[in-house]
């Protein structure tokens, strides 16, 4: 691997860790009394989405670590298992959101929520872009000499983008609320 890509990989890794640490500190810090207000329905959905998204990501990673990428490519049951994890996660999310909607009995989205979603969408787009950049650089460098990338990777790129898409939207919503509660 060329020096340039090593530097890019190290800088990218440091940036991702720093961003994750900052986000975690910002997200989980103890709010002041003035900042403490009840969660909106959208906030509750975002926490559910974040939790389920992380669970799905961890389960998928566990399957890939246990079976390996070659096992994923060769064994249709492994691919089916990954699809099952995704469909199960989506189904569970839908069920929880449906329960929340029927229990809440109030307006689910208002003008503040739309502003929050707008900000979260920008965060989500950058996160998906970053995911694709990591895949593109990693795969290109890993298979440069071979001149071709194994056909299994588009599937993995697809699933990883789905996960990042869901988790980044939830994290973006929570971060945008934090900022809105602080700055108004």
């Amino acid at each position: 691997m060329g020096l340039f890509y090593k530097v890019v990989a190290v800088c990218g890794g440091v940036a991702v860790v720093a961003l994750a640490a900052y986000s975690a500190r910002y997200l989980f810090r103890r709010p002041t009394d003035a900042e403490t207000i009840p969660a909106t329905p959208l906030q509750i959905r975002a926490w559910v989405g974040l939790g389920l998204g992380l669970v799905v990501a961890l389960l998928t990673a566990a399957v890939l670590v246990a079976r390996g990428v070659d096992g994923f490519a060769a064994d249709p049951r492994t691919r089916l298992l990954v699809v099952g994890i995704f469909v199960g996660g989506l189904g569970l999310y839908g069920l929880i959101v449906w329960r929340l909607r029927s229990e809440h009995g109030e307006v689910l989205l208002d003008e503040r929520d739309h502003a929050v979603l707008h900000r979260a969408g920008a965060f989500q787009a950058w996160a998906v872009l970053a995911c694709l950049v990591v895949w593109a650089i990693a795969l290109t460098e890993a298979y440069w000499d071979a001149g071709a990338i194994p056909v299994v990777y588009p599937y993995l790129i697809l699933w990883s983008c789905f996960i990042v898409h869901a988790v980044a939207l939830a994290a973006g919503v929570l971060l945008a609320y934090r900022r809105a509660e602080r700055d108004g």
Binding site: A34, I37, P38, A39, T40, P41, E106, V107, L108, L109, D110, E111, R112, D113, A180, E181, G184
Partner: protein
């Protein structure tokens, strides 16, 4: 440039309107209860449409519910003579 502030009397108007709950007001103006909390704490400036809906619930004009203030105005010496 001075930071503008939009003050409001929502909490008092709610109390005057038979102690209307935040949830009931939120339902009538089609926003979440959390937005009402943020408005009452003057940490959120509503859109014109929401401001009009809130004023309409209390049968008031928008100026009776919301007032715009510059910090300069707060600090400027008043001439009461």
């Amino acid at each position: 440039m001075a930071k503008p502030r939009v003050r409001n009397s929502i909490r008092r108007l709610r109390f005057d309107a038979g102690e209307m709950t935040q949830r009931e007001l939120a339902s009538r103006v089609e926003c979440t209860r959390q937005t009402i909390v943020m408005l009452e704490q003057e940490r959120y400036v509503p859109s014109l449409a929401l401001a009009f809906r809130i004023a309409r619930v209390f049968s008031k004009s928008i100026e009776d519910v919301f007032r715009y203030e510059d910090e300069d105005e707060d600090e400027a010496p008043t001439d009461t003579d």
